[in-house]
């Protein structure tokens, strides 16, 4: 195997690795301005994104395709560490998109920010880990890839080294993260013991060839808990709120928009097989019918999903701080995403994937926007946003769109994703309908706190003249505020998000069609 053909399919990953190294190199040689370093990150992630989109079969970019057609969605051999699935590629695209938006927006961070190379370098490194997760086909490879991301994000959260809040957040994330990692590896070891392999495809095909039922259940139990850390499921979510709050807001945007989805996709990878092969009635490890592993896992995940969205929503209800409110909302959104795997059908996976895709634009961009307005001197409380909508209508409307999308109001991407997700749950019939009902009721509950922000922004008068007049981009405001606008990078990132929210909200077919096709392959291959 010549190196070229081996490296070809991994071009995006290699690109990111190179990018990381290059950024750190730049730091060494003394090029540290935000714009220059950030440009590298933007370029690298953007280019990688193009490659991935090309691999997904987007015709106009076909000349950029790096993976030979036959390798995508090929049936697993049972020994490879990696496999290219179109759903994995879509997740790669989602991850890259999140990083791209965050990097783009971060171009507008203060130019002399000392930590810029560290920030962007770790950002790209974390993304690299995420890309690896998306192509993982081996449990340990998967967990290690997650760790690449995790270790990078621990450092990313505390990268300023000056802010006690950020460091506290990094510490908390580290402790809980390390604990979870340990638990997931322990679970992996138990599954290895039960099946004699850590390859996911092999586990899927192992049939009734082995395993101690209790060992398998315990193994999956440890894995649920370990992965739940990343996916911020209740009750393993407590760190997330503090971290989202304490981390620099742009990092929070990355955590919420990007790295959290790693956990969800890991759930897809790990749990689809046991759910599917029992559902389809073939190759159960417990062919003697001792226990029905699939339904047990589905119910457990379903309970976690409902618990997560409900608790997340209830906790968000009374939040007074904007970032913490968004953090709780983010937790509840994870519950919706988990419905996808709990139902375990291709439509449900497609719905969850679309929800994840949407979340990048809704929640990620919302944090980016919060970071921007925080730079104007707006405080952390929701009440500090009084009058934002009337004084700065463009920003207000953009934020409103994101919140409405989170609440699932039609003609936004958030509506489409929830619609597809809950449709899929209903389509699966049986007790999955109750997941849809729970999800819908929760989204009704969530309206309370989203609407409250709208109310504050649009219906209440600002306490004082806080908002400089001027355009969203580079306007000239009073001197005591750093800038009248967001800066071009941030404005562009938010604009992309807003366009995506509306465009996909109105005509989802291209995105949805691709995701659905990918999900179908994913299920077909997994089964």
């Amino acid at each position: 195997m010549d190196l070229g053909s081996f490296a070809g399919p991994f071009l995006p990953e290699i690109l990111l690795l190179a990018g990381t190294l290059f950024i750190f190199l730049l730091d060494v040689v003394g090029v540290r301005s935000t714009e220059r370093v950030g440009a590298v990150a933007v370029a690298v992630t953007g280019l990688a994104l193009l490659f991935v989109i090309a691999d997904l079969g987007f015709a106009p970019l076909a000349f950029l395709a790096t993976i030979p057609a036959g390798q995508i969605d090929a049936a697993g051999t049972g020994s490879a560490l990696y496999a290219f699935t179109s759903l994995g590629l879509i997740f790669q695209a989602v991850f890259l998109l999140a990083t791209f938006l965050v990097s783009l927006a971060s171009l507008s961070r203060p130019s002399q920010d000392r930590g810029a190379p560290i920030f962007f370098g770790l950002l790209v490194l974390a993304t690299l880990g995420m890309l690896l997760v998306a192509i993982a086909s081996d449990l340990v490879f998967l967990l290690l890839a997650i760790e690449v991301t995790s270790l990078a994000t621990y450092l990313l959260v505390g990268y300023t080294r000056k802010d006690p809040r950020s460091l506290e957040a990094a510490m908390k994330m580290y402790v809980i993260g390390a604990l979870s990692t340990t638990l997931s590896f322990f679970g992996a070891s138990l599954l290895y013991g039960a099946y004699g392999t850590t390859n996911l495809a092999a586990i899927a095909h192992v049939g009734g060839a082995g395993g101690v039922p209790v060992l398998v259940l315990l193994g999956y139990g440890f894995l649920i808990v370990g992965l739940a850390f990343k996916a911020t499921l209740v009750p393993f979510h407590a760190w997330a709120v503090d971290v989202y709050d304490g981390a620099p807001t742009d990092v929070t945007a990355f955590l919420a928009g990007g790295s959290k989805k790693v956990g969800i996709f890991a759930f897809f990878l790990v749990f689809l097989a046991p759910i599917l092969f029992v559902r389809t009635g073939t190759g159960s490890p417990f062919a003697n019918g001792a226990i029905a592993l699939g339904p047990i896992l589905q119910i457990t995940l379903g309970v976690l999903a409902v618990l997560t969205m409900t608790v997340g929503n209830i906790l968000a209800l009374l939040q007074k701080e904007m970032k913490r409110m968004l953090a709780y909302s983010s937790i509840s959104q994870a519950g919706y995403m988990l419905i996808g795997i709990a139902v375990g059908t291709a439509p449900a996976l497609a719905g969850a994937t679309l929800q994840i895709f949407a979340h990048v634009f809704m929640k990620g961009a919302a944090f980016l926007l919060v970071a921007g307005v925080t730079a104007w001197g707006i405080g952390p409380l929701i009440d500090d946003y009084r009058g934002l909508g009337t004084r700065r209508p463009v920003v207000g409307v953009a934020f409103a769109l994101m919140l409405l999308s989170l609440a699932g109001v039609p003609l936004t991407i958030g509506f489409v994703s929830k619609f597809v997700l809950f449709s899929a749950a209903v389509q699966a019939q049986g007790y999955f309908v109750w997941l849809a009902v729970a999800g819908l009721l929760n989204s009704a509950l969530s309206v309370f706190y989203y609407a409250r922000v709208l109310r504050v922004m649009f219906f209440e008068e600002p306490a004082a003249e806080k908002f400089p007049a001027g355009a969203i981009v580079g306007g000239s405001g009073p001197s005591e505020l750093p800038a009248g606008g967001f800066g071009y990078g941030r404005a562009a990132a938010i604009a992309i998000a807003v366009i995506a929210i509306v465009a996909v909200g109105i005509y989802p077919q291209p995105v949805l069609g691709a995701i659905q096709a990918a999900a179908q392959h994913f299920v077909a291959v997994g089964a």
Binding site: I176, L179, L218, V225, L315
Partner: protein, 665 residues
């Protein structure tokens, strides 16, 4: 005179003319100061309507028969299986027949005269354009009601006249009492209207389902002569339903015609201008209830139970209202009670099966009652008070008025040869003739008979109080004088009619009008004095009443009932109108309104409170749950471990159990 019958097709011109008058006066009235703010325009149109009305009546008299013309389909449903198998259609059209011709005559004649009288009587009031517009609309609605060719259309105009009445009673809307009386009138009649509406449904439904009625729904439920087969067919299985329908129609009629127990609104309706009282609340609109009963009895039919009920209501009201008229001191209210009482006679007649006799009384009553009101109005116009005890000796300055009132009073009291005698006597005679077959009519017949005495007494009590004696008892009253020709012409015209309209019965053409309208009633009516003994007794009673009135009140005397008299409680009862109004007010305010307030409380604090309770519950839950976010990372680790244990419990214990419950995926 075949040429004249062509006018029948144009009967709809009458309401149309008045609608035009309404629109013209309503829109342009305020700018036409010279024409009494459109008053003369209204008079002109009313005159034109009168001409058409008289022509229609004449044509109908010359060639009795009927003419149906469906002009416009409101809406229709296609035929299909179900309640209305042949489809369903609601139409608006005209039906000119003897009784509608008779009513048209009454309405246009009185309407024109009152309109003319108003020119001077209302001259000093504000809002005249509104007055004439509303009066025009009223005449349009009333004439439309008269020539309506189905119950639905009838109801439509019925409601419209009700609204006109509402606005005209409340004409002096700045007076709280007027505004209140208007509301009361509308509400009380509304109770009747609601019953009427149900009655319509019942008839529509009953006839539509009964064999011969199938085509009726498709044709728009129009009145057709000789509907006996309908009645017979429908009664085959639905006599209960028909009885209820009849009761509902009676309810509607009782509301409009102020019959017991829905009579309370009419005396209060005297808050409106006297002209309005004369036209609407004496001559025409209040008679619409009787007209409704007559039309129903002729075209649709009542069951025997219905008839007894109608007789009971009519007979009782006759006496009941007369007693209240005995004690009141407001001249208009006395006449108003008299109106209720006389309407009772008509209802009684229709109930006993003599619809046409009832209508004949309606015809004569319209003239002499309008006359009484206009005469009273003349007095009020002259001296500015309605209190009989302040008046006195007015016969000298107001000779024409005094004479007119006297003629009206004699007609009312049933003294021959005045109009009231002929019609009232026919009613009493008719009911008397039924007593053999319907012994249950006896008490109501006796009540009606007794009312003759009271009627004569109270109306002459009023006459003596107002016109006899040497001068006003209240010296502060302005000097009385007769009105101009504009007011005198209607008085004289109506006086002539009060004398002569009863005698019309001896004109064969007129009598044929009455006889030909009676096709369905079953009992051939007899007009003119038949039972001389009965007539003698009734006339004697009338004369006795007049004499008693003269004895107590004649020559300026004022009779004061001794404080210790046994009759004092009775007098108080009568003055308080049997406490009906108090009772109704109590139901309205203490009853319904209290319920409404209580419901409001429930709405705000129980229903909304529950919602807010949920809100608070979630808030409390949120507050509780927030505390787990302690900020100490060791706690978070503890949650992870606790979660781990929980997941194991779920995986190993709960989920397997649930799986057995739902039986796998």
């Amino acid at each position: 005179m075949a040429g004249l019958s062509g006018i029948l097709e144009w009967a709809f011109l009458v309401p149309l003319l008045m609608v035009i008058s309404f629109v013209v006066v309503g829109l342009a009235g305020t700018r036409l100061k010279r024409l009494e703010y459109g008053g003369w325009i209204a008079v002109l149109f009313a005159g034109a309507a009168l001409v058409v009305g008289v022509l229609v009546a004449a044509a109908e008299m010359l060639s009795p028969g009927q003419y149906v013309n469906v002009q416009y389909t409101w809406f229709q449903l296609p035929p299909a299986a179900g309640t209305f198998p042949n489809g369903f259609r609601l139409v608006a059209g005209t039906l000119v027949d003897p009784i509608s011709a008779l009513m048209l005559l009454v309405v246009t004649v009185v309407g024109f005269l009152v309109m003319l009288y108003s020119i001077e009587y209302m001259h000093h009031d504000r809002g005249l354009a509104r007055y004439y517009a509303e009066l025009s609309l009223f005449l349009a609605a009333m004439t439309g009601l008269v020539i309506a060719n189905n119950l639905f259309e009838f109801f439509l105009f019925w409601e419209l006249v009700g609204v006109c009445s509402y606005f005209l009673i409340g004409f002096y809307y700045e007076k709280p009492s007027a505004a209140s009386a208007a509301k009361e009138a509308f509400l009380v009649t509304r109770v009747g209207d609601v019953m009427f509406l149900l009655g319509i449904f019942l008839y529509f439904y009953t006839y539509a389902l009964a064999g011969p009625g199938n085509g009726w729904a498709a044709s728009g439920f129009v009145f057709t002569n000789g509907n006996q087969p309908f009645l017979a067919g429908a009664m085959g299985g639905n006599s209960t339903l028909l009885t209820v329908a009849g009761i509902m129609i009676l309810g509607g009629a009782a509301g409009k015609s102020a019959q017991f127990p829905l009579h309370v609104w009419l005396p209060d309706a005297m808050e409106g201008p006297t002209t309005v009282s004369a036209l609407i609340h004496a001559a025409t609109m209040v008679a619409a209830g009787v007209y409704l009963l007559a039309v129903t009895s002729l075209f649709l039919g009542f069951t025997a139970t219905d008839q007894l009920l109608i007789v009971a209501i009519g007979g009782f009201t006759t006496f009941f209202a007369a007693t209240m008229a005995v004690v009141h001191s407001d001249i208009k209210r006395v006449i108003a009670y008299s109106t209720i009482s006389q309407l009772g006679y008509m209802v009684l007649a229709v109930g006993a099966g003599f619809a046409m006799v009832g209508l004949f009384h309606l015809f004569t009553h319209a003239f002499f009652k309008a006359l009484l009101f206009l005469a009273a109005g003349s007095v009020i116009h002259a001296i500015g008070t309605q209190d009989l005890f302040k008046m006195g000796g007015l016969r000298k300055p107001m000779r024409i008025t005094a004479a007119a009132f006297a003629i009206g009073g004699l007609a009312l009291a049933g003294i021959p040869p005045f109009a009231g005698f002929w019609s009232k006597d026919d009613i009493l005679g008719g009911v008397y003739s039924q007593l053999g077959t319907h012994p249950l009519y006896w008490p109501f017949f006796l009540l009606a008979f007794a009312a003759v005495f009271l009627t004569a007494y109270y109306i002459f009590r009023a006459w003596f109080l107002a016109f006899s004696g040497d001068g006003p008892r209240d010296p502060t009253l302005p000097h009385a004088h007769e009105g101009s020709w504009v007011m005198q012409v209607p008085l004289i015209g109506l006086s002539a009619l009060a004398v002569g309209s009863g005698l019309l019965i001896f004109w064969p053409n007129f009598q044929s009008l009455l006889l030909n309208g009676a096709g369905a009633a079953g009992i051939p009516p007899v007009f003119g004095p038949t039972d001389l003994a009965l007539s003698g007794i009734s006339v004697t009673l009338g004369v006795a009443g007049i004499l008693l009135a003269w004895r107590l009140w004649g020559n300026g005397r004022v009779y004061v009932l001794p404080e210790s008299s046994w009759a004092q409680p009775v007098r108080r009862l009568l003055l308080n109108r049997y406490y009906f109004k108090v009772g109704y007010d109590w139901i309205g305010q203490r009853g319904v309104y209290s319920v409404a307030r209580a419901a409001d409380f429930v709405d705000q604090f129980v229903i909304d409170g529950t919602v807010h309770g949920f809100e608070r519950m979630f808030a409390a839950l949120s507050e509780r749950l927030r505390r787990i976010q302690s900020g100490v990372v060791s706690d978070y680790a503890a949650y992870v471990v606790a979660g781990l244990i929980a997941v194991f419990v779920l995986l190993l214990l709960v989920a397997p159990y649930l799986v057995t419950l739902v039986g796998g995926a």
